[in-house]
């Protein structure tokens, strides 16, 4: 096999995509897993907010890497090492343009959103926050944007403040403004809520935080697959995301950070790759981005991630958003016909996440009985327990749609829900 075979795979796939634009049937063909049969029925996958499925292109890139140019990067001078390093750094450049960062060294590879947030809390937070300083998060944060700040606050004696929300699941921006004072040193909020679908007005949040001199991290885990991210336009100091939610591999994310801030921050983990020179007396650290990438990184997944971004950009994020919004509208109207069903999360600006509860039925029963019908939804608190408490519920059922989902599948969900109601009624 030629070492270039991986490029060919990508090439053919792209031609197919360009020719068809958003031909959903052909998009579905790009995702082998959609052919799985679950409990005798063809899989209906509506758990995309947890993780999206991966197109063939990404799977081929993964095996292509291992088959043709697996090597450790940034160290060897042999052919494979150079090729692997080039592919790795190519993804960094690709990621830079994906979020429109000014410099490629502002892109740090992480394990995911959680890892990125922990990195900032442990380095920026530890170095620059002190007793009595305040950190602001919101009611709708994922646990991964709560716990690292709680840990920091506990260690440093800082105070955690929480922006409340209204019954629709929109942030109360007046209350946010009231929380902002000269004591506010950090604001960390989610771009898009994984439980509600709410798209937060983060540009405004960032501007207001900057006005009091606070730094801002945006948890972009749910946003990045749905619409275009421009960190320079947003003006955020940090932006964390996970590739597995953008049709890419698991266990991989990026942290974007403004260069001057990243330079001012101490390193996170110590080890190989992140150093310039090590003696037993003193170690000097490597420059950005390597300062924050200790040890052998997740090379294969980084290499393959580029293909996921290519895939998304070839379809076009605005095409994806338009199509997904159509699915959300269709589903929202369809579930409204179901008696006793209440949608949790009715913000005006939403991505394709539909969370709901049904009177007298436990969300877990809904999940089990839909699973029997081959329909995968997520049930539970979605790692947002404080948010569930705000709505006085223990959990919801959540259907979240991606570009390969169809209205026919939503019809199956509705039929499935009627069956659940009949069985439990």
């Amino acid at each position: 096999m030629s070492p270039n075979s991986i490029i060919w795979v990508g090439y053919f796939s792209k031609i197919a995509l360009m020719k068809t634009s958003l031909d959903i049937a052909s998009i579905r063909n790009d995702f082998p897993i959609l052919n799985e049969v679950i409990n005798g029925k063809q899989l209906v996958y509506f758990d995309n907010a947890a993780t999206t499925q991966k197109p063939r292109l990404v799977l081929d890139a993964l095996s292509g890497y291992y088959e043709h140019y697996n090597a450790n990067i940034h160290r060897g001078i042999h052919h494979l090492a150079e090729k692997a390093t080039a592919a790795f750094e190519q993804t960094r450049k690709r990621m830079q343009s994906f979020v429109n960062a000014e410099f490629s060294e502002e892109i740090i590879f992480t394990y995911g959103t959680t890892d990125g947030i922990n990195l900032v809390a442990s380095t920026y937070g530890r170095k620059f926050l002190k007793e009595g300083d305040e950190v602001i998060i919101s009611t709708m944060e994922h646990h991964s944007n709560i716990v690292p700040w709680q840990m920091l606050c506990e260690e440093k004696g800082c105070i955690l403040k929480v922006i409340p929300i209204d019954d629709n699941g929109d942030l109360l921006m007046d209350e946010y403004e009231k929380l902002l004072t000269e004591r506010t040193k950090f604001v960390s909020v989610v771009h898009v809520s994984n439980s509600l679908g709410t798209i937060n007005p983060i540009k405004e949040i960032i501007e207001k935080a900057h006005a009091v001199g606070a730094k801002v991290l945006i948890d972009g885990a749910q946003a990045s697959s749905h619409f275009h991210i421009d960190v320079q336009d947003l003006g955020c100091d940090f932006y964390a995301l996970s590739l597995h939610k953008i049709y890419g591999p698991t266990g991989l994310g990026i942290l974007y950070g403004k260069k001057d801030l990243l330079n001012a921050m101490p390193p996170y983990r110590g080890g190989g790759e992140m150093i310039k020179e090590v003696t037993f007396e003193k170690t000097t650290y490597n420059e950005l981005p390597y300062k924050f990438e200790a040890g052998t990184p997740n090379i294969a997944d980084v290499v393959a991630a580029k293909y996921a971004l290519d895939y998304v950009d070839t379809l076009g994020k605005s095409n994806i958003a338009t199509y997904e919004n159509g699915l959300l509208k269709y589903a929202t109207e369809a579930v409204s016909e179901i008696e006793g069903l209440k949608i949790i999360g009715k913000a005006k600006n939403k991505v394709s996440v539909l969370s709901f509860v049904i009177d007298g039925i436990h969300h877990q029963d809904i999940g089990v009985l839909l699973d029997q019908q081959g329909i995968a939804v997520r049930t539970g608190h979605h790692c947002t327990q404080p948010l569930m408490n705000r709505f006085n519920i223990t959990g919801t059922s959540r259907a979240s749609f991606a570009v390969y989902n169809t209205t026919e599948e939503i019809d199956l969900l509705i039929k499935g829900l009627h069956k659940v109601k009949r069985m439990l009624g």
């Binding site: 039925i361 436990h362 877990q364 089990v368 009985l369 029997q372 539970g380 069985m423 439990l424």
Partner: protein, 142 residues
């Protein structure tokens, strides 16, 4: 009836159903017939926290036999809980501690006992056996 006889009976009950729907309808029926646990026993101490649904388990000795009462806030889990109670409750601690539970597998419900289901069932079963072992030790020490 011995633990295994009860298991075998459950297995043959479920043999009547060849579709998932009738199987789950039966489990839901079992849940509806299962007496709810009295509120006073729904304590923090008796709760077995699953990720999504809650399960309560109360155990007590009655003339050398270990008895269980249980409940859950989700119906299907409640039905499955009722089966575990039916199989294990009212036997000696030794029998419970050494019981080999095969009925869930044979009925095709073993996935509910998997930890990934995070419904508290696997933890409940473990707790029932732990009670068996604990009461066994108690009677030996007496």
């Amino acid at each position: 009836m011995t633990i295994n006889e009860i298991q075998d009976e459950l297995i043959s009950d479920f043999e009547l159903f060849d579709e998932w729907e009738s199987k789950y309808e039966y489990i839901i029926d079992l849940a509806k017939q299962f007496p709810p646990l009295e509120e006073q026993y729904k304590t923090e101490e008796n709760i077995i926290k699953g990720c999504q649904s809650r399960v309560w388990l109360n155990a007590y000795m009655e003339s050398d036999l270990l008895k269980f009462e249980a409940d859950s806030d989700a119906i299907i889990v409640r039905g499955l809980v009722s089966m575990l109670v039916k199989v294990l409750s009212g036997h000696t601690p030794e029998e419970i501690a050494s019981a080999d539970l095969y009925f869930m597998e044979r009925i095709g419900l073993h996935q509910h006992l998997a930890q990934t289901r995070s419904n508290g069932l696997a933890a409940m079963l473990k707790q029932m056996k732990a009670y068996g072992i604990a009461y066994q030790a108690k009677s030996v020490n007496q």
